[in-house]
């Protein structure tokens, strides 16, 4: 998955990038953080599937292990990619909410 490829990726990749945008995290902290702000509980296989794709695309990178925990952090490319993706989502959300409001009035 390239930087452009995140446009068509699942929301899980966006959730992981959004979580890492708040600072480096290991797997358990990522799962708890995503569950907290999105209400989605990722399993370890799903989480590492996303991390593998994002790492291959250069959007995240692994940090040295700390006491059997393996933290990851978002890269500059990852920040730009998630910013573009969230801005696009916000634009669509704004248009959609405006139309819904017009239909309800």
């Amino acid at each position: 998955m390239t930087v452009e490829g995140i446009r068509g990726s699942s929301d899980r990749s966006v959730l992981v990038l959004t979580s890492l945008a708040g600072g480096p995290k290991h797997g358990y902290a990522l799962i708890k953080d995503i569950e907290g702000f999105a209400g989605v509980k990722l399993g370890p296989g799903t989480l590492y599937g996303c991390l593998a794709k994002l790492e291959q695309a250069g959007l995240v990178e692994a940090l040295p292990a700390e006491d059997r925990r393996h933290p990851y952090r978002i890269t500059a490319s990852g920040l730009q990619a998630v910013r573009e993706r969230l801005a696009e989502s916000a634009r669509i959300a704004e248009i959609g909410l405006g139309r819904v409001a017009g239909a309800m009035s």
Binding site: G27, Y28, I31, G43, P44, Y48, A52, R68, R69, H70
Partner: protein
């Protein structure tokens, strides 16, 4: 989580993925189990589904590379075949591959050449075909032509320069000089 079941589950992942992430995913699974965040059954099912997804993704990448390399090889083969066969002309021969009805098929330099019925002789010289003798008069006056073709040992200048034309049809025997006869009764063309 370092049980035999976990090792079996990890074996379901593609090898590069397994070598890179199996330790991390094992540590995370153990941490989730200890914290009571997930049941063992749910963890097994989740890892099974994830392994299947990774296998599909790996297969998709492999097939893409296979199709890409196969297409490139096919293009190379077609280009080489095109160049080797003179643009699919198969050997560069310009002779018709099918002899039309009424035409003659004669052998020239190892290839079969089709000629119309009006051609009665083909002369060859150092540069290839030097003359093509047609039967042009109506009614046909073929006798001088046969005389021309039958000449065996004429020493005149044109005959010395060029070999005797190859008859398309078997001529009757004669002793006349072929150069003088050709001017009288046939048309000689040089391509």
């Amino acid at each position: 989580m370092r049980s035999r079941l976990f090792r079996l589950l990890v074996m379901l992942y593609p090898r590069p993925w397994r070598e890179r992430y199996s330790e991390e995913i094992g540590d995370l699974s153990a941490e989730l189990l200890v914290a009571g965040e997930v049941t063992r059954l749910r963890l097994v099912l989740e890892l099974l589904g994830s392994a299947f997804a990774e296998r599909v993704r790996s297969l998709h990448r492999s097939r893409f590379v296979l199709v890409l390399s196969g297409s490139a090889a096919l293009v190379v083969v077609v280009v080489v075949a095109f160049l080797a066969t003179n643009g699919f002309g198969l050997g560069g021969s310009t002779s018709p591959r099918v002899t039309p009805v009424g035409w003659y098929s004669v052998s020239y330099r190892g290839a079969q050449v089709s000629v119309p019925p009006s051609v009665v002789a083909i002369g060859t010289g150092p540069g290839g075909i030097t003359r093509v003798i047609f039967q042009t008069t109506s009614p046909p006056s073929v006798e001088p032509v046969w005389d021309l073709l039958a000449e065996q040992s004429c020493a005149c200048s044109p005959c010395a320069r060029f070999p005797r034309p190859t008859p398309v049809r078997s001529p009757p025997r004669s002793t006349a000089c072929r150069s003088t006869s050709a001017r009288r009764a046939t048309t000689t063309r040089r391509p």
